[in-house]
């Protein structure tokens, strides 16, 4: 096939990606959008196979078969609660693929200095995406400690790695031979750098990291596109890179922090919140039932704890019982609840909660005074009034769901430990707060049982 024809089909593929992303932005068209984008990918891959440059197919067939089987099985088997880990791993595999494409491009004859630089960039970004995603996966699946790992000389070590990276990169660019030790040093340093970038970022900040790594995986593909002079890689990679940056920005805004602040400071490293003291008011499932039974508006506020307890199905069941009882039921979702952007939405969708019952933070805050019962399930920081009131709190300034303004707040909590960031939460001592201790799933099941008597 001629290069002109191939590039024409790449243009069609790019258009399909653009339409696909556009349609992914609305619930009504999202399924079609994903399909369009998949068709674009299929076209781009098939037409590439017919290009003149491809002479051998045996390796391609074997590798693609292995990849397709692994990808398909992973996509089918993964539990919705483990979605953040899965997305991290997919990001990582895209990153390492771009690294390898950049590396293989070294073997092309007649590389210019510009090409060498783009090869180095695709290796740097690809490696950071890969090792960063592996660390993110480790933290999310709790293979490694999920808190921020911070040590004194961290910034100095990072700066040294960067300097060494630039030095090796320059040395390699001056004399780009296939077996240059500087080249392998760049790969190794980039991988280490990826680890260093992600370890100081802790549990509750994970949504930022995941969307940032998503952006990097696009930028890595984009750099690889420059290395091999391929338009479709540049266009598609840049689209993904830009989309990831926007999501990252939304996450940062939802925490009232700058990206630099998330990346370079471990959570709660500097400030210590004013300790709040007070008495919590525990209640039994029966008390909860009596209050809920009389309520006419109920809003559930889920957090990561709901995912851990796998409580989304019982929450939906309770929601349906309350609706049958004549109450108006909503689910209020904070943008950074959970461990990735939109985590709670996916879990509730899995439990068959219609998406029009999910309300965003601004909407629920506008009418929170009229909510009879706000049920907080495994959320902590995103409902912590200290973010509004206590200037010493590390999360001061973060927009929260003002559940403390609801008429009654139920807080489902395993025990009286503080949330992820170690911040004391004055909500627990509020006048209108009632604590329901125990596993969220069991607690809700008990309330449901009361309804059914």
């Amino acid at each position: 096939m001629s290069p002109v024809l191939i590039n024409t089909i790449y243009i069609i593929a790019a258009a399909l990606f653009i339409f696909g992303l556009k349609q992914l932005g609305s619930p009504a068209t999202a399924v079609r959008g994903n399909l369009l984008s998949a068709v674009g990918m299929f076209l781009a891959v098939v037409v590439t196979l017919f290009s003149r440059g491809i002479l051998e197919f045996q390796w391609i067939a074997a590798a693609a078969a292995v990849g397709a089987i692994i990808g398909a099985i992973a996509a089918q088997r993964i539990a919705m609660t483990s979605m953040p880990e899965m997305v991290a791993l997919f990001n990582g595999s895209g990153g390492i693929a771009s690294l390898l494409v950049g590396w293989a491009a070294l073997y092309n004859v007649g590389n210019t200095l510009f090409t060498i630089i783009t090869i180095l960039l695709s290796i740097l970004i690809g490696a950071v995406t890969f090792s960063g995603s592996i660390v993110a996966w480790g933290k999310l699946s709790e293979v490694m400690p999920s808190q921020a790992i911070v040590f004194g000389a961290q910034r100095i070590v990072n700066a040294l790695i960067l300097v060494a990276l630039i030095y090796c990169g320059v040395m390699f660019a001056m004399e780009p031979t296939l077996n240059s030790p500087y080249f392998f040093a760049v790969i190794a340093l980039s991988l280490i750098f990826g680890v260093m970038v992600v370890i100081p970022i802790g549990g509750a900040d994970m949504p930022v990291v995941i969307s940032l790594l998503n952006s990097y995986s696009g930028l890595a593909a984009c750099a690889a596109g420059f290395a091999i002079n391929n338009n479709i890689l540049i266009v598609a990679g840049a689209l993904v890179g830009a989309a990831g940056i926007i999501l990252t920005n939304i996450m940062c805004k939802a925490m009232n922090r700058s990206l630099a602040n998330v990346l370079f400071s471990g959570f709660g490293a500097v400030k210590t919140a004013t300790k709040v003291e007070g008495e919590v008011k525990p209640m039994t499932a029966e008390d909860a039932y009596l209050i809920l039974e009389a309520a006419s508006t109920v809003s559930f506020v889920p957090g990561y704890g709901m995912a851990v307890a796998q409580a989304q199905h019982v929450v939906r069941e309770l929601g349906e019982l309350l609706e049958a009882n004549g109450a108006e039921v909503t689910y209020a979702i904070h943008p950074v609840a959970g461990r990735m952007p939109g985590h709670m939405n996916v879990l509730l969708a899995e439990a068959n909660v219609p998406y029009d019952q999910l309300v965003e933070m601004e909407d629920i805050n506008r009418r929170i005074e009229n909510v009879d019962v706000a049920v907080v399930i495994g959320a902590n920081d995103v409902v912590n009034p200290a973010a509004r009131e206590d200037e010493n709190s590390p999360i001061y300034g973060m927009p929260i769901i003002n559940v403390d303004h609801a008429r009654t707040v139920f807080i489902l909590k395993r025990s009286m430990a503080s949330g992820f960031s170690g911040v004391d939460n004055p909500l627990f001592f509020g006048e209108n707060s009632r604590m329901l201790f125990g596993d969220a799933k069991e607690s809700i099941s008990k309330v449901i049982a009361e309804f059914k008597i």
Partner: protein, 99 residues
Amino acid sequence: MEAVFLAFVLMLSIFLGFELISKVPSTLHTPLMSGANAISGITLVGALGSAGAGIDLWATWLGAVAVAFATINVVGGYLVTNRMLAMFRKKDDKQGGQA
């Protein structure tokens, strides 16, 4: 000149990406992310070129491993996005899938 032309394409694509995504309801953040992630598997196209060109055995190997990883990204990414989106439904739409 070629590099300048590619940089031009890059700049336009980035602006387009910003415009496309700027208003997305938070319900769709996860599917959007995994859908975009699948698109970043476009690096597969580059990997195919390296794996099939037959220039050098080592380059072929690098390309083949890249093909495997990129295919995981593409196939897994699109399937998992589709699986998630199939669960989103509107009220009184008991079937799901359409949403």
